[in-house]
Homo-oligomer: 265 residues x 2
């Protein structure tokens, strides 16, 4: 823990689901104890925060409103979801996307030309991950050489108490079938973490990343040169503490415990 005090933490890149709140499908979920106050305490202490999320089931606005309903008070533009990174890439390169994303996130792609697609955007499409939809995506990538863009590459998350497949496995399926490598917008892509740092105006060694996904959050951040902190909430399982390739810089019981450490004098 000492390296947190001695090096000083000026900013926090913070995952949302599993760190600030637990997720379920029937309502907004619930804030994890101490996380609402934790953010307020960091802000009061002048620590900058950017919420780097792979959420691709709902728009940024909806996610923000959900957090506000739970009692959080961050501004909407402090949240950085993969759809924003993907849209900016699509606009910059004049791409025409075929979208296999959750209906609720379509709005983030409104107004883009989707005719005669030359790229595919895969998000956490949930029940829209059907055999037919995956075949359509596969054919576009394999036969029409469409670029494959993935909104994050998380393996799974916990929802309604159950581990649930994220977009990553479906991206892996299309990659395996087509021999193409997806461009990942979102965690664990290095550029995504770097964009978060840029928003905060900090260098990698001035920030920490905190998440409940040992590979995507912690390993991804470390790969970008940022200290990675694992919380024992969300989809965390004890096996994560002896992960074969990722060694978190720190493991804490929850977000509050990390805030306590950062603010300890």
């Amino acid at each position: 823990m000492s390296n947190f005090k001695s090096l000083g933490v000026k900013g926090v890149l913070c995952d949302i689901t599993g760190v600030l709140k637990e997720s379920n499908t029937t309502d907004d979920g619930q804030a994890i104890q101490g996380s609402i106050e934790g953010i307020e305490r960091l802000v009061a202490a002048g620590i900058k925060i950017k919420f780097v999320t792979n959420e691709s089931q709902i728009t940024r606005r909806e996610l923000h409103q959900k957090l506000i309903r739970l009692g959080f008070s961050m501004p909407e533009d402090s949240i950085m979801p993969p759809a924003f990174a993907a849209r900016s890439l699509i606009e910059k390169e004049n791409l025409r996307p075929h979208l296999l994303v959750h209906d609720d996130v379509l709005q983030d792609f409104e107004g883009l030309n989707t005719e005669d697609p030359n790229c595919v955007v895969l998000g956490d499409a949930v029940e829209k991950f059907t055999y037919n939809n995956l075949n359509t995506v596969f054919r576009l990538v394999k036969e029409k050489q469409c670029r494959l863009i993935s909104l994050g590459k998380g393996k799974y998350y916990r929802e309604d108490g159950q581990l649930t497949l994220d977009v990553g496995p479906f991206t892996a399926a299309v990659e395996f079938a087509s021999d193409q490598t997806a461009l990942v917008c979102g965690k664990p892509d290095k550029a995504f973490f770097q964009a978060g740092l840029d928003c905060l105006g900090l260098t990698a060694d001035e920030a920490v990343m905190v998440g409940d996904d040992v590979v995507s959050d912690v390993g991804g951040a470390q790969n970008a040169g940022i200290r990675g902190v694992l919380v024992r909430t969300g989809k965390y399982t004890t096996q994560d503490e002896s992960h074969p390739t990722v060694k978190p810089h720190l493991i804490v019981d929850n977000f509050k415990a990390l805030v306590d450490l950062i603010l300890a004098t």
Copy 2:
């Protein structure tokens, strides 16, 4: 081509779909020109043949009957599908499978104890590859440490003129999500090709493998020490001729052309 004559070919491991017949969903498909006679000519010349297929949409009996209707005349037990290899493994190790396979192949697993599963068998489940079914499989593998068994790991095949996802990408998805490696029964698993050779009573250098899948058929056979022949039928595309990792020993227009070469004096 000279190595085929000089080394002598005593046996052929032969893929079915895309080599002997083209596939479609509405009827039995159609025999590829020259393939019915090709097999008869090999048999007449004393060349042994085993049909190594990754077919996991129908039972071996149904596949055999389909071939007979198309005009072929091989015995049923000359066909070796992955379900037979998987069932024999399951029985040997007293496993209790959860089956995500095509309804028409369930019969090959009849009578096995499927309660409280400790392994998962993934076949080419087609429309049964739903988000919910894949989540069930994922949870069994990730949380209950069920062994993951895959009936082949082909990437795709051609059906009704379209490239269509095979079981492989779905296996890759579960592997990616769960950090487990599937045990592959079927091509391109080395043991599967070896079992084919054992059935023929031949060594690797006495046989050739012929298929339309450059990775699974040709690369898989080569990995087992068997010469791999690619046909320009089935799902073959011209890109396969410059595949980054697999160089076929021989590329022929169709199965008939290979038979001509093998029988040339």
